[in-house]
């Protein structure tokens, strides 16, 4: 059984899967739009939560939230299920495909055979779409891979039941019928409000612009606290979280800028275009931190990539983001 499904490549898996599933159901939006409506942008620094002995630093919201919020804000019904028993999980996947419904799956990247070895790592919140089955092989649209791919049932089951942090537990999801009237403008406003509130209004020092400042404070003293080798490992980890793992670069800031650009046209708010440009420049600034940090990691030290200098750049990012998100709140309230 094969469902006719259009594969589109994207920078980030969850927003790509969301946009592709919506398109399959007759509503076409860009990846950036799905990301923005789903309130995908975030900053969180949780030094007490360790992944591979390194602090959790994230530039996006919780896994699964972009899909759920984007669909809900657009008024599109979704079904999401988890299965403790792998056999039941695979049977439910087969049943959906037989019913002609493409299925989004949360899965562990490490087990997916079509990923180049260099990109395989233990990340359990990767998203892909299964749109068919031929014999023992599933037909997969993985949005960060250029073309559709295939995977055997045993391996796909292993990926769906990968163990560890963010374990998918067989999670699968699909989209129901798209309603005739889509509240696009309201959905965009809701997505912007959520992100802007989280970035500047939540009085928790670990998230939003406050989280950036806390990370800057800690980063400045990593060499004193961890020693040379460990502080470089921490810095490399920050750069990877920001520039890799499907962020589209600059910690998702470039994707968010593309969303603001589109939102300006839909909401007829030209000011959002200016803010989109500012968001791109902020993304460039995050990328500068990554660039200077990468040079330090490679032992190419200079006065502009000391840990205090990198911390200072991060503080500048936080100030610019604070100004931008406060204005965004004001602009979309009107």
């Amino acid at each position: 059984m094969t469902i006719e499904f259009i594969h589109r490549q994207s920078a980030h898996c969850e927003s790509g899967v969301t946009a592709n599933l919506l398109k399959h159901n007759g509503y076409s939006i860009s990846e950036a739009m799905a990301f923005g409506i789903g309130g995908g942008l975030f900053f969180g620094y949780f030094p007490f939560i360790k992944i591979n002995h390194l602090p959790l630093i994230t530039f996006r919201g919780a896994p699964g939230s972009i899909f759920k919020k984007c669909a809900s804000r657009l008024g599109v019904p979704v079904t999401s299920r988890q299965f403790r028993d792998p056999q039941r999980g695979m049977d439910a996947l087969d049943a959906s495909i037989a019913a002609g419904i493409p299925v989004g799956l949360q899965s562990g990247v490490y087990w997916l055979p079509y990923f180049p070895a260099a990109l395989r790592f233990h990340f359990n919140a990767h998203n892909l779409v299964v749109y068919g089955r031929e014999g023992d092989e599933y037909l997969i649209s993985d949005p960060i891979i250029e073309k559709p791919v295939r995977c055997s049932s045993a391996v796909l089951e292993r990926a769906r039941y990968a163990k560890g942090a963010l374990a998918p537990k067989g999670r699968m999801y699909s989209i129901g019928q798209v309603p005739g009237e889509i509240p696009l403008a309201a959905a965009i406003r809701a997505g912007i409000k959520e992100v802007a509130t989280r970035m500047v209004k939540v009085p928790i020092p670990l998230i939003g612009v406050r989280g950036m400042r806390m990370l800057a404070r800690h980063l400045q003293y990593w060499p004193d606290k961890f020693g040379d080798k460990q502080s470089i490992i921490h810095l490399g980890h920050l750069i990877r979280m920001q520039e890799e793992i499907g962020t589209g670069g600059g910690g998702f800031r470039f994707i968010y800028a593309a969303f603001l650009q589109e939102a300006a046209a839909v909401l007829e708010l030209p000011r959002l275009e200016i803010l989109a440009q500012e968001m791109t420049q902020i993304g460039d600034m995050w990328r500068r931190i990554a660039l200077l940090g990468a040079r330090r990691c490679k032992g190419r030290n200079s006065t502009d990539n000391t840990f205090p200098a990198l911390a200072e750049l991060m503080r500048e990012c936080s100030l610019r983001e604070e100004k931008l998100f406060r204005e965004l709140l004001h602009v979309v309230k009107k």
Binding site: Q9, S10, A11, S30, E31, A32, P116, A117, A118, L119, I144, E146, G236, I239, R240, E243, E244, G246, G248, G249, G250, F254, I255, A257, A258, T280, G283, D284, R287, R288, A290, L291, A294, R295, C297, K298, R300
Partner: protein, 85 residues
């Protein structure tokens, strides 16, 4: 500028930017650019350097919905991306 010239220019830029003194004199343009099979032995931290250097030299930003993984597959894909941007 034709494609071959651009590819040669990019190879030079990458080698200089990533500071690779023992780089091979030449390598195939379709060879993997990043990862263990890269003839220049570039890793993901070098990729950040390449992205920024390309933006500075050619005014082309790699990011957003354009997957940098795909663009940075090889010198050839990078040259194609610059040409079409």
């Amino acid at each position: 500028m034709d494609t071959q010239d651009l590819e040669q220019q990019l190879k030079k830029l990458i080698i200089e930017t990533c500071n690779i003194p023992d780089a091979p004199a030449d390598f195939p343009s379709d060879a993997p650019l990043i990862g263990p099979e890269s003839p220049l032995d570039l890793d993901s931290l070098d990729a950040v350097e390449v992205v920024v250097a390309v933006q500075k030299a050619y005014g082309v930003r790699i990011g957003g919905e354009d997957s940098s993984r795909e663009v940075l597959q090889s010198v050839q894909t990078l040259a194609e991306y610059i040409t079409k941007s």
